[in-house]
């Protein structure tokens, strides 16, 4: 079990927090919170096995958010001095005062127990920042060469992002915590180019980003050897595959693809700030409005979706959120019905009666000290059936259909109704058996229709944590990392497009 980073602990975090919170209080703030955050990130890219770029970034700064006269104020700076912390508190109060005339909603927060100087560390083994750069590049070069050596692979790109995040949070209610999280996001992609026709296609690894350390790159939690050995063959088969006949098909969706559909059509749709209109000018709103809580038929009765900030190796997993709320797990969709939302402390308070609970479920997050905490996505996961079938068994139930593996293109409308996704591999299913790949496939549906057509979910043996490092939301835009666990699942009568025909060719 790793320890909290000593160089972060050496920063005067308690001293800065005390100065900022005291200043905010002296200026009349009814609530104040302080964050000191250091985010180390490393990005390594190889092109055809040769290092293209290696960048080592660190973002370190402090932020103060206050409620003053019922209005939010926020400010941030990078100088880690007591003077700077005091000045930031003053700026935050000033901003609240400037904003007061155009704020019509007095801000109040849901109660949360006080956590006094607690610590939390995510579950990982090897800190990527303790692995020599050359060793990391050499590993990616080896993985790249395995793909490049295969017939039919023209080019290979390899990329890994590693993040080490340390946060100290303290608020005027007495909560303070120090939290450390590590995550990695590796991917390799092989490209095939037909020299004669110029047609090209790609095949990417399905290894999801994970709340793990460098051990993930060397085989803990993902079987790289098998996947890398299989990619050239899959790519060659895809290059030679027939173009899909558009129409309606039964589909078995692999968790390597389904996580993204969950992210877009459930994860974002059950964010209460969206349902309430706070993202209307940017990310959008939600069809799953608050008046439908407890009644909206989201999907078939076997659909059980949870929100959590507690799953081991989850990218959204925390000990405590950016408002000092402890990580929890709760239901979003149960027996196919909308039963919950993702909220922060303000929304929990305002909507306490409708939500049926006075507590925030801990979804406040800012992607750096320079940004304001907003409601961000928990790990939103589709639960498997306890004794559910294997992926092969699900495929065996399909007479004429498609098995979809790996995510690729994704798009959904501003209210989370209409979506369209592609994938890495599409296998034709004939009489319950895989029957070679298809190309030019996209599936397009409306959220409730799609989840309503879910006939079966796989068992725990099919369950996988997928996810993304780059979920965007809010203005100014913030990036979030989030995990979605899901089993394989069988959907009946889904609209399949031929993308070449869509292009009018």
């Amino acid at each position: 079990m790793p320890d909290l980073d000593e160089s972060f602990l050496a920063l005067p975090r308690h001293e800065l927090a005390a100065a900022a919170l005291q200043r905010a209080k002296d200026l009349g703030a009814s609530f104040a919170e302080f964050r000191l955050e250091r985010i180390r990130s490393e990005s390594i890219s190889l092109r055809d096995g040769v290092l293209e770029n290696a960048g080592d970034d660190e973002d370190l700064g402090l932020a103060v958010r206050v409620i003053h006269d019922g209005t939010w104020g926020f400010a941030a700076a990078v100088a880690l001095t007591v003077d700077s912390a005091v000045q930031v508190a003053e700026q935050a109060v000033n901003l609240a005062q400037v904003s007061r005339p155009i704020n019509t909603e007095p801000i109040e927060l849901a109660d949360e127990p006080v956590y006094d100087d607690v610590t939390w560390i995510s579950s990982y083994e090897v800190d990527p920042f303790n692995v020599p750069r050359a060793e990391k590049v050499a590993l990616l070069a080896d993985y790249s060469r395995r793909l490049l050596a295969a017939d039919g692979v023209t080019h290979v790109t390899a990329h890994v992002t590693s993040v080490h995040e340390c946060k100290f949070y303290a608020n005027s209610e007495g909560t303070s915590y120090t939290q450390q999280r590590v995550r990695v996001g590796p991917s390799l992609q092989a490209v095939a180019v037909d020299a004669e026709t110029g047609r090209f296609d790609t095949m990417r690894t399905c290894a999801p980003p994970a709340g793990r350390g460098w051990e993930y790159l060397t085989g803990t939690g993902w079987d790289w050897d098998t996947e890398l050995a299989s990619i050239p063959g899959w790519l060659a088969e895809k290059m030679a595959a027939p173009s899909v006949e558009p129409g309606r098909y039964d589909v078995v969706v692999d968790p390597t693809n389904l996580w993204l559909t969950i992210h877009e059509s459930i994860g974002h749709a059950t964010e209460l700030d969206r349902a309430l209109g706070y993202e209307a000018n940017y990310a959008g709103t939600s069809f799953a409005t608050l008046d439908q809580l407890g009644t909206l038929k989201y999907g078939s009765p076997i659909m059980h979706v949870t929100g959590d900030r507690t799953a081991e190796h989850g990218l959204s997993t925390v000990g405590y959120d950016d408002e000092g709320v402890a990580g929890q797990q709760w239901d979003l969709v149960k027996d196919g019905i909308l039963v919950g939302y993702q909220v922060d402390r303000r929304m929990a308070k305002v909507n306490e009666d409708v939500l049926g609970t006075p507590r925030s479920n801990g979804c406040a997050y800012a992607d750096s000290s320079g940004h304001i905490p907003i409601q961000r996505m928990a790990n939103v996961s589709l639960q498997p059936a306890p004794d559910g079938p294997s992926t092969e068994e699900l495929i065996s139930r399909v007479k004429n259909g498609i098995y979809i593996v790996g995510d690729k293109s994704w798009s959904i409308d501003m209210q989370r109704y209409n979506f369209q996704f592609t994938g890495q591999r599409f296998f034709k299913i004939t009489d319950g058996k895989l029957d070679g790949q298809l190309r030019d496939v996209a599936y397009q549906a409306t959220t409730t229709e799609f989840w309503g057509s879910m006939e079966a979910v796989g068992g725990p043996q099919t369950y996988l944590l997928g996810g993304a490092l780059n979920c965007g939301k809010a203005q100014p835009s913030q990036s979030g990392a989030v995990t979605h666990g899901c089993p394989s699942a069988l959907f009946r009568d889904v609209n399949i497009l031929n993308t070449t025909q869509e292009a009018g060719r």
């Binding site: 290696a54 990078v78 180019v193 110029g198 309430l276 209109g277 209307a280 409308d413 996209a442 609209n495």
Partner: protein, 469 residues
Amino acid sequence: MTIAIQLTPQDTVEQALELAAAAGAEGCVVLVAETSSANLRWANNTLTTNGAMRGTSVTVIATVGAGEGTAVGVVSRSSVTDTTLRDVVDAAVAAARDSEPAEDARPLVAGTVGPGWDDEADETSVNVYAKFAPALGEALSRAGREGRWLYGFADHEVVTLYVGSSAGMRLRHSLPRGFVSATGKSCDLSQSAWAGAATRDFSDIDPLALDAELTRRLGWATRTVSVDAGRHPTILPPAAVADLTTYLFWTLDGRDAADGKSPFSKPGGGSRIGEVLSPHPVSLRSDPQLPGLETFPFAVARSSGGASSVFDNGLTLTATDWIRGGKLENLMHSRFTADLTGAPAVTPAIDNYVLSVDGASGSVDDLVAGLDHGLLLTCLWYIRVVDPQTLLVTGLTRDGVYLVENGEVTAAVNNFRFNESPIDLLSRFTAAGATVPSFSREWGDDFSRTATPPLLVPDFNMSTQSQAS
């Protein structure tokens, strides 16, 4: 206890260059960006979040000899002090020593001391909204009284960049950037409208006028009509054209084309430079000096990749035609990728573009007046590549699709999912208007220096209806 001292940007550059030389670096480039920003965000007719941020970013690029080549180490930090700068420089030099020779290594760009090097960083603050904020307050209360909902965001930032190198370069350049994006919804939330604009200082942005435009558009929705998916005559206003063109712009990577994995790759090898992409006199051009769209006049690269190379920092950027008279003229190249692929010129990316059609004049309203039956869009959203071979992208219409009948807007219609290629559209449009400054709904928050014309496409592919409203 030693008190850490925040260095000036100039001192950061000079000391880092000295430290790098002392640590044995052959060459070094230091970029210091001082950024200040202030923003206001509103929803449901009230202010929601707001903030004032100040940040610094220091990037040290150190090079060392490696066999017959040159290796590079790049380290970026959000802030440094006199005591931590040495660690940052040492880390960059160590990273270089730890690396194989860089493929894109080139001599550092030679240079001299540019104008204003000694000047302090320019900055912005919440005061940029001195006129805007009270007027916004008035617009929000007017909307409340008149039964519509307003949502939006205003952002202003000033970046002052200092670039220094061991080759003698000292460049300072300051850039303001701002935008406003505003959504209006009817009282029952069934109709939505949008307007947005880029600005350099908010002196030209009037919240009450924005609200009036949203009100006019919501008025078009007094009558609503359902229109089926299919290929429709469609007017794309400049914002929607920018939504699509920005994707095309980002696909102009020269190395990807040479590698055979771009829509601009030529079957059998090489790129499509010189090929006619459109029968129309279409031009796509970038120029750091474009009035109103001014951007950094020299290359800025904190990482290498595609047409970007850390060795090219400070390279003078000049006006570049990507497409001229309908013909593909240039793709984006660093010095390295230009050599690698035999490109005709070194043409790095530039942070702005103008899409224009020679001889086109008139506005969206003129295109509407000339259309018998079709659709008028507001903007596009959630655009993603479906097929990189053809640059087929999918996405959705958003916040206002209108029916045009006999030269007039007569109703609001449902939203659609589309599947289209912005490259194909350059050939298929049948009418265009004058190019004007535009603000992309999808990309404008990050890429706002665009100018585009409105276009009429006779057969825009609306793949399915979207229920979003």
